[in-house]
């Protein structure tokens, strides 16, 4: 197998062809309304937003900082603008059940009008009805009624008094009532004198007195009935007067609102209620009680008079109350009270007929909010319930507004983990959020995309109020976007990083008094970002340079190789070499992964070590036992080790330990390997190469150093300027490998050798040395076993 040629500068960096960019500065570029390269997402959103059926709500998933919220908002604003404006909703007093306010739907804009009409009516009631009661007509009629009752009341008493007088009996008033006694000349006869009357006379008088008393009793007992009758007549008079007063204004309103039967029914109920409470309006001093007039107010819950198209509402604090609305209370003299005018709309009310955008993580962190949202979406109506009621903590009488029918499209925005967790653990989730709109992390980089990507960058620059960029600056940014995507054929779609970079470049341009953002400003922004995040990387490099962490970058050494690893701290990633060592001695086919034994290795790493162990057995001892006891360790690694990207390096170092053939320390290796020795792609190659490059540079300069990496990783290379210069000058080499044998040859300088038909390797080849050495191990092992067998056999024989 031939040694692969080192990669050229063009292979390790995909330059942006500036001839593909048809502009001088981004100022001349047309803005992109919707991002390109997100067809899947846009089609999903278009479908979700237009789909009428229940449960087709959207979940827009993608990494954080990808600009999901902005995109969703932008898309929905455009989509909603062509849709009809939804109805207004208001709550009005329920005259049948005062704690259950009614909901009335009105065409958009009419809610405000209705509210004003009812407020005017209440104001009119306040003055017109007392005026009616003060009118001469009313006063006269009331007086007539009162006089009639007085007359009727007195008539009975007068009749009795006259009958008494005619019979010489006085009707005398007492503090508590009346009494009868015989009289003469208008004066009551002295009781002593009465005793002198004859028995007949006495009997006559007493009989008459008794008769009069009975009549008086009857007359008095008629009084309550009489009063009740008068009360009723006064009430009907009041009703009549109020009806007449209300006839005009309510009639006008009925006509005006005749197109809405619900409003007409409400107006009729108001009229009946006013008539019923006519007496309360009589106090012209203080007017009708405020509580009574409040009943005729309209609580305009949703006012769409100024809404254009369907509403798009974003609820930034999606707790239960903000979503479903709430019933507020007013404190009055230490007591809390509420009525239908204190019902407040939630974002679901405001978004009704349109779209509600919610952040998935936020709604899930609010108590009961998620459950409430699901309940409402299932029932398709908004029922306002206080949180304390839901928890059963409050049992006080409160308002229970009539539920409002809901037709809303909820758009949840969140990261992928949340989506998959919800889909897995919440059985309702997929019933309610049937449309998955998945954000692309990276965009294809091809001939078509350059101009579009440049327009996207121009749009971003405008949105962050940055200067226009010139063509080379855009080119550099496109190249950096590939580096961020970690792929020569991709561009990152990560909105936040690009915008931040643009803002920073704009800052440097401003400092330099430049009208445009130039390539230098972009580079400065990239470098400054890297520098700000470089403290830990620098410390790590220093440790290597000072020899605290031992990394050899020169010479040759058996059983020792430079592996490459990537460290991620916060948002920054950097690579650094790690010394991997191996030992080998005869044994029973065992490769000890020290990291795993020390519980510092992860399962993928363990798997990789098992693969290499089987590779060894399969390749070098296909027909016999692999008599090997080997160990592998990441030196000076005190954290965990995970991943299989070191398996090529581990194989090389193990084979070196077996054969004693030294490995070049000027090369570092990364790559994963399968059981057949084929090299497979790994992640973070750019960081790894740059990390090793930096170490070499620091350890006496780069000269003949290099990195071996899987050939399938070549298209992920977007290396920095320094590495590219070293490659151009031939002082640093990057070798793509497809098979472990290529790594062996590069690291040892020996030909690996291919097996002949019988599986033997050619004399002098590296693989032959491995096979021979393993055969020696096997012999040694066999001798030991035989000696042990003899030992145990002799002992057995002695027995």
């Amino acid at each position: 197998m031939a040694i692969p040629a080192a990669l050229t500068e063009d292979q390790i960096y995909h330059r942006c062809p500036l001839d593909k960019l048809n502009f001088e500065t981004t100022a001349t570029l047309e803005e992109l309304e919707l991002p390109f390269g997100q067809e899947r997402l846009l089609r999903a959103m278009e479908f979700g937003a237009s789909m009428e059926a229940n449960g087709f709500n959207l979940f827009v998933l993608g990494p954080s900082g990808a600009g999901k919220h902005e995109l969703v908002r932008q898309f929905l604003d455009k989509h909603a603008s062509g849709q009809p404006v939804p109805s207004d909703w208001c709550h009005v007093f329920n005259f049948q059940q005062s704690d259950k306010p009614n909901a009335i739907e009105l065409p958009p804009g009419e809610g405000r009008m209705f509210k004003r009409d009812m407020s005017d009516l209440a104001a009119e009631l306040k003055t017109a009805i007392p005026a009616t009661f003060e009118s001469e007509e009313y006063q006269a009629r009331i007086q007539e009624l009162q006089e009639e009752v007085t007359r009727r009341q007195q008539k009975g008493l007068f009749a009795i008094q006259e009958e008494a007088n005619a019979n010489n009996i006085a009707m005398i008033t007492t503090p508590a009532g009346f009494t009868f006694a015989p009289m003469r000349n208008g004066e009551v006869i002295e009781p002593e004198e009465y005793k002198t009357f004859s028995d007949d006379e006495k009997a006559l008088v007493e009989a008459k007195v008794e008769d009069l008393q009975k009549k008086l009793q009857q007359a008095i007992q008629q009084v309550p009935r009489l009063r009740k009758e008068v009360r009723e007549r006064i009430h009907s008079l009041n009703e009549e007067m109020v009806q007449l007063t209300l006839g005009g204004p309510i009639g006008e309103l009925r006509e005006k609102w005749s197109h809405l039967p619900e409003v007409v029914a409400y107006l009729d109920a108001v009229r009946e209620d006013v008539v019923e409470h006519a007496e309360a309006f009589q106090d012209s001093e203080n007017g009708a009680p405020a509580g009574l007039l409040n009943r005729y107010r309209v609580n305009l819950l949703v006012d769409n008079s100024e809404t254009q198209g369907a509403p798009v509402v974003y609820e930034d604090l999606p707790n239960h109350q903000h979503l479903t609305g709430q019933i507020e209370h007013r404190a009055h003299q230490g007591n809390l009270y509420t009525d239908f005018t204190l019902i407040r709309a939630g974002s679901l009310h405001r978004a009704n007929g349109g779209f509600l955008i919610l952040d998935a993580r936020r709604i899930l962190t609010q108590p009961m909010a998620w459950e409430s949202l699901k309940r409402i979406l299932f029932s398709n109506e908004i029922r306002i319930e206080s949180l304390e009621r839901l928890y059963g903590l409050a049992t006080t009488v409160s308002q229970q507004p009539e539920p409002i029918p809901l037709k809303v499209k909820v758009v949840l925005v969140g990261d992928r983990t949340l989506y998959y967790l919800l889909a897995h653990y919440d059985p309702d989730f997929l019933d309610l959020f049937k449309v998955e709109a998945d954000f692309e992390d990276d965009l294809d980089r091809d001939g078509e995309s350059y101009q579009l990507y440049a327009r996207m960058l121009a749009t971003m620059a405008k949105s962050v109020k940055a200067r226009p960029m010139d063509k080379p600056a855009v080119g550099r940014l496109i190249e950096h976007a590939s580096r961020l995507a970690g792929d020569q054929k991709k561009l990152t779609a990560h909105d936040r990083v690009l915008k931040d970079l643009l803002s920073e470049a704009n800052h440097w341009a401003a400092r330099a008094d430049s009208k445009h953002i130039g390539i230098g400003h972009i580079q400065q922004a990239i470098d400054e970002r890297e520098f700000r995040a470089s403290r830990i990387r620098e410390r790590s490099l220093e440790q290597i340079y000072r020899g605290v962490v031992m990394i050899a970058t020169d010479g040759e050494q058996a059983g020792q190789v430079n592996g490459l690893s990537v460290l991620q701290i916060g948002a920054t990633r950097f690579g650094q070499p790690t010394r991997i060592t191996a030992t080998a001695r005869p044994g029973k086919g065992q490769v000890v992964d020290i990291e795993r034994e020390a519980k510092l290795g992860g399962p993928i790493h363990s798997k990789a070590v098992m693969i290499l162990s089987r590779f060894l057995a399969g390749r070098y001892a296909p027909m016999g036992d692999l008599s090997l006891s080997a160990s592998l360790a990441f030196e000076q690694s005190y954290g965990g080790v995970e991943g299989d990207s070191a398996s090529v390096a581990e194989t090389c170092v193990l084979l070196s330990a077996i054969t004693g053939v030294p490995l070049k320390q000027s090369l570092a290796v990364t790559g994963s390997m399968n059981q057949h020795g084929e090299v497979q792609a790994v992640g973070g190659v750019n960081e790894k190469i740059e990390g090793f490059f930096n170490v070499c540079k620091k350890n006496g300069g780069v000269n003949g150093h290099g990195v071996l990496l899987p050939a399938s990783n070549v298209e992920h290379l977007m290396l920095n300027e320094e590495v590219r210069t070293a490659v151009r000058e031939g002082v640093f080499a990057i070798y793509p490998m497809t098979h472990i044998d290529q790594a062996i040859e590069l690291m040892t300088g020996m030909a690996p050798g291919s097996p002949d038909d019988e599986g033997g390797y050619p004399e002098g080849s590296f693989n032959r040395r491995v096979a021979d050495r393993l055969a020696e191990y096997a012999k040694v092992g066999q001798k030991k076993e035989d000696a042990q067998d003899n030992d145990s056999g002799g002992k057995n024989g002695d027995r």
Partner: protein, 285 residues
């Protein structure tokens, strides 16, 4: 005729307040106390034990029929007397309390007999007699008691029939006069005093058969101006008591003053007017 000549100053008499323990008599007591305080007048409370009532309680067979319930209960002289004593005591306490608050001297006269007769015996021409329009002895729904009727027509001095004052929006003192009446001055003076004391404007209504008489109007207004009272004078034709009542109501009267010499009394319309006007009314001789 000048205002000075027409309206001579009269000596301050006593304020006689007729107490019977009824609600309205207690309200009248407060009004009487205010007047006495303003006039710095002596107050005499009068409590009369009605002799007819005491006599009727002496019969074994008489029953008291409850005014509201209509239930008949036996009458007992001792019980009635005890009740009268208790009412008298209550009257005395009320009188003492009302006058003590204002620092006025007071006395209570207890007598037994016919109420109207006893009061007429006690009253002197310069005295102001204050009583509720109806007492407990008034028949149900009545707006003018029998005692009030007798005293209005027979008392030698002024009589104030107290009633619950009307609503606050009615705030004028109204004096009703006759064009050809000789004793107008007394009513005008009482009206002026009320207006001053209550800080209310005054309306003088003059009943006339000859139309507006500017001279009288000017005299009256000049007098009122000299007293510092806002006043207006209206002339009205000699209409029925009902029509007069309507005009008074339209004026927004809070209190009414009229002279017994007013032709309404001759026309027997005074009772109707007094019944219709449910507000405090002062009748001057």
């Amino acid at each position: 005729m000048t205002a000075e000549q027409q309206l001579p100053v009269e000596p301050v008499g006593r304020v006689l307040i007729l107490l019977d323990g009824s609600r309205l008599s207690l309200a009248a007591l407060e009004a009487a106390a205010d007047i006495a305080h303003a006039r710095k007048a002596e107050v005499l409370g009068v409590f009369v034990e009605e002799v007819n009532l005491l006599r009727s309680a002496g019969y074994g067979f008489t029953r008291e029929v409850g005014r509201n319930s209509g239930v008949a209960r036996p009458m007992d002289l001792a019980a009635i007397e005890a009740r009268m004593r208790s009412l008298a005591e209550q009257a005395r306490r009320s009188l003492e309390r009302a006058m003590a608050q204002r620092g006025l001297a007071q006395a209570l006269t207890l007598c037994r007999g016919r109420v109207a007769d006893e009061v007429l015996n006690l009253a002197r021409p310069g005295d102001l007699l204050v009583l509720g329009r109806v007492g407990w002895s008034g028949s149900p729904g009545s707006r003018l008691g029998s005692t009030a009727r007798v005293l209005v027509s027979q008392a030698l001095g002024d009589v104030l029939l107290w009633a619950d004052p009307p609503m606050r929006s009615r705030n004028r003192i109204v004096v009703l006069l006759n064009h050809d009446q000789g004793a107008n001055h007394r009513a005008v003076r009482v009206g002026a005093e009320l207006a001053r004391r209550n800080r209310q404007p005054l309306t003088i209504l003059v009943r006339t058969e000859t139309g507006r008489d500017e001279r009288i109007a000017e005299d009256l207004l000049a007098y009122m101006e000299s007293e510092g009272i806002t006043a207006r004078v209206s002339f009205l034709p000699m209409a029925s008591a009902g029509a007069v009542a309507r005009v008074i109501r339209e004026e927004g009267a809070s209190q009414l003053v009229l002279s017994r010499q007013c032709s309404l009394f001759r026309e027997q319309g005074a009772d109707t007017l007094l019944i219709e006007m449910n507000l405090p009314v002062t009748v001057t001789p």
